[in-house]
Amino acid sequence: MLKISNLSSGYQTKEVIKDISFTVNQGEFVGVIGPNGSGKTTLFRTITKIIPGYTGNLLYKEKEIRDWSVKTLAREIAVVPQFLLMAFPFKVYDFVALGRTPYLGRFEMISGRDKEVIKGAMDITGCSGLRERMVTELSGGELQRVFLAQALAQEPKLLLLDEPTSHLDIGHQVEILHLLKQLNKENGLTIVVILHDLNTAGEYCNRLILMEEGKIYKSGSPVEVLTYQNIEAVYKTVVVVKDNPISGNPYVIPVPKDRWETNGRTEEPEGTA
C-alpha cells in the first residue's frame, strides 16, 4: 500500500528524514516509535504532502505522493492529529461532517449517503451522544474520539495517527487503541500510528518501526524491536524489558538514573558513558 524507498525529506534549513525505506501492507497495524526529534512527525508530514519536496520514492498505491492531488489523497489517507487548536466553537456534528469535504464539489450539499457515513463514523467512535456539543468544551478523551470520527468520515484506506494518546490517561489510551484495533481487524483499515508509550505500542501494533535521528534503527515485531539493547541504544536510557503476564507482549520499564550503576547488568548503554 505504502512503499517507501531511500526517502529523504525535511525543511529548507534541515534534512530530518535521511534515506529511509519501509513498506506498509494492506491491513497492517504499524507503530512508529522513537525519541523526540527522530523524524516521526516529519515522516507523516511528507506522506500527506504537508512538506512538498522529498527525494527517493514515496509510493502510495504504486503512485508517487507528489503526483496525487491533495483532494484525491484526502479520500485515501486521513490523519488524526495529536491536538488541534479550535478557533471557533463548531458543533461536534458539523466538525465531523467536514470529513466529507474531499468528496464534495463546491456547489454540492451533503447527501443522504454522506449523512450515513458521518453517522457511521460517529457511532463507531462513540461520539453520537456528543452531536450537539461544542468542540471547544470537550474533554481530551472526547476530543480525540471526535478527531477520529472526522478522519473516518473521510472513508480512508490508510489512517495515520500522530500520538493520539499522549494527552490521555491510561483508561482513555486503552479505549482509543482498542477502537483502532477493532477498525483494523473488522474493517480492514490500515493503520500507522506514532506512539510515545512503548508499552501500548507493543501491546497493540503488529509491527513496530523504531526511528533514531531520521533513520530507521530497527523494524519488526514488538518482540524483535522492544529489546533492552534497542531501547537503551536509541533512548540513551537504562531499561528493563519483561513480558506482560497476560498478553505475553514485551513491556519496558525505565530504571531510575541513580540506579544505573547497580542494576546488576554489567554493560553500559551506548552513548551514556
Partner: protein, 323 residues
C-alpha cells in the same frame, strides 16, 4: 435555535427597517409614501434622497459584515476585519489618489476601481510580509496595523498638497459617510459586491476547513495557501466596493459577525448569511440616525458605528474569555 427561523426573522426585520427608515428624515416622519402620494417634493425626497442612501447603507453593511466574518475565519482570529488588516486603509488611499492624479479625477467611477486596487495592493503587501512568517496571526495583525498607519499618513500627505475645497469631500471618506451617495455609484458597486458575497457563500465549506488550521485543511483536501489567496482577493473586491461609496466605516465587520456567531454558530454559510442581513440592518439604522438626530445637519455614520462599536469592543474585552 432553528437557524432558518433566525435568518427569516432577520430578513423580515431588514424589510421592516427599510420601510420604516424610508419614512424618517429631516423633513419629519411620514408614511404617506406607502399608500402612494401626489406630492412631488415628498416622493422626490423618498426616492431620490432617502432610497439611495438606504440602499447604499444596506449594501455596505452587508459587505463589511461578510468581509469581517470571512477574515475572522481564515485568519482564525475573532478580532480581524477589513480595517485590522489595513485593507480599508489601502482602499481609502486609492480613493484619495483620485484627488491628485488628474486623469483619475475625471469621473466618480474611478472611486470603486481605485478603492479595489488600493485594497488589493494592501492585501498583497500583507501577504508577502506574512508569508515569511507562515501567516502567523500576530504577523498578519501587526503588518495590518502598520500598513493602516502608512496609508493614513499618505492620505494626510495628499491632503496637505490639495486644495481645501477638495479636502472637504475627502473628509467624509475618512470619517465614513453616505452623504455623497447617488444611484450611478450604487449601480457600479452592486454587481461586484453581491457577486463577491455569493462567491464567499459558495466557498463556505472551504472556509470552515481553513478555520481548523493549514495542516488539517490539507489533510481534508483543501490547498490552504491558494484558497486563502483567492479569498483575500474576493474580500478586497467587497471592501473596495464598500469604501468607494462610504469611506472608512469601522467596527461593523468586527461586531456583527461576533454577535451572529454566538447566535447561529461558527458554521460559515449560516454565519455569512446572518451577518449579511444583520450588517445591513445595523448600518441602515445607523445611517438613519446619522441623518436625523441633529437634522438639518448630519453626523458621519462612521461616528455612530465608532461609538457603538467602541463600547461593544470594550464590553467584549471586559468579558473576554478567549481573545
Amino acid at each position: 435555535m432553528n437557524k432558518i427561523l433566525i435568518i427569516s426573522l432577520l430578513l423580515v426585520v431588514l424589510v421592516g427597517v427599510v420601510i420604516i427608515c424610508l419614512g424618517i428624515g429631516p423633513t419629519g416622519i411620514s408614511y404617506k409614501y406607502l399608500t402612494g402620494t401626489d406630492n412631488d417634493t415628498e416622493s422626490k425626497i423618498i426616492y431620490e434622497v432617502r432610497l439611495p442612501r438606504i440602499l447604499g447603507a444596506l449594501l455596505v453593511g452587508l459587505g463589511l459584515a461578510v468581509a469581517g466574518a470571512v477574515l475572522q475565519a481564515i485568519l482564525r482570529n475573532p478580532l480581524a476585519e477589513p480595517y485590522t488588516l489595513g485593507i480599508s486603509g489601502g482602499a481609502v488611499l486609492g480613493v484619495a489618489l483620485c484627488l491628485i492624479v488628474p486623469f483619475l479625477a475625471v469621473t466618480k467611477f474611478s472611486f470603486p476601481l481605485m478603492a479595489f486596487l488600493g485594497a488589493l495592493v494592501s492585501v498583497i503587501i500583507v501577504y508577502v510580509i506574512t508569508s515569511r512568517h507562515r501567516f502567523s496571526v500576530s504577523s498578519l495583525v501587526l503588518s495590518g496595523v502598520i500598513l493602516s498607519f502608512i496609508c493614513s499618513s499618505l492620505v494626510l500627505l495628499i491632503f496637505s498638497v490639495s486644495k481645501p475645497t477638495e479636502i472637504q469631500s475627502m473628509l467624509f471618506f475618512l470619517m465614513g459617510s453616505f452623504a455623497t451617495i447617488d444611484y450611478p455609484i450604487i449601480k457600479v458597486i452592486t454587481i461586484p459586491l453581491i457577486a463577491g458575497v455569493l462567491t464567499l457563500v459558495f466557498f463556505s465549506r472551504d472556509i470552515d476547513v481553513l478555520t481548523l488550521g493549514d495542516e488539517k485543511a490539507s489533510h481534508l483536501g483543501i490547498a490552504p495557501h491558494r484558497v486563502r489567496a483567492f479569498l483575500f482577493i474576493i474580500t478586497s473586491v467587497i471592501t473596495g466596493c464598500c469604501v468607494a461609496v462610504s469611506g472608512m466605516i469601522g467596527f461593523v465587520g468586527l461586531m456583527i459577525p461576533h454577535i451572529m456567531r454566538s447566535i447561529v454558530g461558527p458554521k460559515s454559510r449560516n454565519l455569512f448569511i446572518a451577518s449579511a442581513l444583520s450588517g445591513a440592518i445595523f448600518l441602515v439604522v445607523s445611517d438613519t440616525l446619522a441623518r436625523s438626530v441633529i437634522a438639518p445637519a448630519e453626523l458621519p455614520v462612521g461616528v455612530i458605528t465608532g461609538i457603538v462599536g467602541g463600547v461593544f469592543f470594550i464590553g467584549m474585552l471586559i468579558n473576554a474569555k478567549n481573545i
